[in-house]
Amino acid sequence: MVERLSPLEPVYRPGSHGRFEDGVGVILSETRPDSIVQVAAWPGEEARAIAAIRKVTGLALPDGAGGGVVDGEKAAFGFAPGKFTVVDEAEGLAAALAKAIAPAVGTVTELSHGRTAIRIEGPEAEWVLAKFFAIDFALPAFPLGAARSTTHHDVFAQIQRTGGDRFDIYVFRSFARSFWKALGHAAEEVGYEVA
């Protein structure tokens, strides 16, 4: 595969930044999965789309709004009625899903080059994200694996909780650099490390 260029590259500076003398509050990184795919089921075909995602990835999506599942290199979550984002560190997920999901069930859209995946991890992750998005990041309201779609100043973001204090954020590639810089500014007060 041709090496994909990250939109964050000109501003991606590994190391510690901000007020980190008292400890690092969050760790920011780009996860760079090779497959980011959107599956959209026609009304009434949601269960068959979920079954196809399970067949291809082994991920069992839970029922219900914004439900999701994480399993090491793979993740899947619902972000809208009948619509799911499926992520894999390996290439080829879109082709595999397109084979498993007939046109009568739904559509498969390859977004691997269209989205940038940013990970924020650490004890202050909820605090930093709460400055960006008007949603509840507390664990009972936003359980592990679950996802939310929202916006930060008109920049769409799909956020999945992939750990107790870890979130993966999918933003449009074209907005990723500006979002990344804003995230860095917001994390300065708690001290952050770019991995």
Binding site: A65, A80, K83, A134, S149
Partner: protein
């Protein structure tokens, strides 16, 4: 003001786009009834109280929702997905030329 999206839960109103009066009945595409078209385009009830509205959660799941909002108090008494509703209404489509 908070709107409770049926999919996403309570969200700030800035995430939503107002899609217009929910009481409008669009005449059939081939309708020649100018009165019906005029009512569809211009006539609004403008109530002081509960009002049927269509909103889109454009800054979230992007689904359209049917909202009942009180124009005096901003109390939202109901917010349900438009989908499902549209299926029912498609089969009940009024005859061409029928009055709104």
């Amino acid at each position: 003001m908070l709107l409770t999206c049926p999919y996403c839960g309570p969200r700030d109103v800035s995430e939503f786009t107002y899609q217009g009066d929910g009481n409008r009945q669009r005449p059939a595409a081939n309708s020649q009834d100018l009165q019906a078209w005029n009512e569809y385009v211009y006539d609004r009830q403008n109530p002081a109280g509960d009002h049927n509205e269509i909103w889109q959660h454009s800054g979230g799941c992007r689904s359209h929702i049917r909202v009942v909002r009180n124009t005096l108090s901003h109390v939202v008494s109901s917010a349900i997905p438009v989908r499902g509703d549209t299926h029912r209404r498609a089969t009940e489509r009024r005859k061409p030329g029928a009055k709104a």
